[in-house]
């Protein structure tokens, strides 16, 4: 099972990684599988952007910033992550829950 890898990762009570720097793409794949998200190239564009933003600023990007800075627009974000684009993308990218209002 791909999900096994998650047994070795620390998560908070909402299922977000405690230590974002411990994230790897394999962990990202396993989290996506647990969230029932089938990852495509478009998902990865968002996830990699979220990682690079986090590495630069220490915060997960807001949804608006993702749609402004990547090719993925708002409508597509909701198609890619229907259960809530900002938090699902951050969760898969190993980041904490975004606190931005937009």
């Amino acid at each position: 099972m791909t999900v096994d890898i998650l047994d070795r990762v620390a998560f908070d009570e909402d299922g977000f990684m405690e230590d974002p720097s411990a994230w790897t793409e394999d962990i990202g794949r396993a989290i996506a599988a647990a969230l029932e998200v089938d990852l495509t190239d478009r998902h990865w564009q968002v996830i990699r952007f979220a990682r690079s933003e986090f590495e630069n600023s220490g915060e997960p990007p807001t949804l608006r910033r993702i749609t402004q800075q990547t090719e993925v627009n708002m409508k597509e974000m909701y198609q890619l992550f229907p259960d809530g684009p900002a938090k699902i993308a951050a969760n898969i990218a190993g980041l904490k829950k975004p606190s931005g209002c937009i």
């Binding site: 999900v3 998560f11 647990a34 969230l35 807001t62 608006r64 259960d83 809530g84 969760n91 937009i102």
Partner: protein
């Protein structure tokens, strides 16, 4: 500590999936933002959203008015501390326009879009946007006057649509 799972993200209310119904009844610039911000926040966390724009709230989704919403400088108890405009001066011509210009600037600095772009954003995010039929008849508006994606709805139909939802009146 909890392993990630879809259940953790599904915002379930007492009747299953959580749903938010927002009624926007005011059309000033300062009162246009709260329902838009709440609608967007709800959609970002996967909550279903139904928005009903009624009376002056209709201005927020009316193409000709949505980019020209103003903040009142008279009779607005929140005006004085923030803008430093005493009520009597607030009555001078141009004061409301100046305060609205300032507020748009402050909102822009926070990275929030202006009203027309914000409406498009919440519609793209999957919120359903309705204009109140009775208010539209009163203001002689038709669906063509509303922003793209908004539809006309009666209050009773809105009640049917929002069964089990949490209702917020702004």
């Amino acid at each position: 500590m909890a392993k990630p799972s879809r259940d953790l993200h599904q915002s379930s209310g007492t009747n299953g999936k959580r749903k938010l119904a927002l009624v926007a009844s005011k059309g000033s610039l300062d009162m246009a933002y709260p329902p838009l911000i709440l609608a967007n926040a709800a959609r970002m966390t996967g909550i279903e959203v139904e928005m009903f724009f009624t009376f002056w709230g209709l201005d927020i989704i009316t193409k000709k008015k949505m980019s020209k919403l103003n903040v009142a400088t008279v009779g607005n108890p929140n005006m004085h501390p923030w803008f430093g405009i005493p009520t009597l001066l607030g009555a001078l011509p141009g004061m409301s326009a100046a305060a609205s210009w300032m507020m748009r600037g402050e909102i822009g600095k926070l990275g929030f879009p202006r009203v027309p772009e914000f409406i498009k954003l919440v519609i793209d995010a999957g919120a359903n946007v309705y204009g109140c039929k009775m208010s539209m008849d009163m203001m002689k508006l038709t669906e063509d006057d509303l922003v793209e994606g908004a539809t006309v709805l009666g209050a009773m139909e809105f009640m049917d649509l929002t069964e089990g939802a949490q209702i917020v009146f702004v």
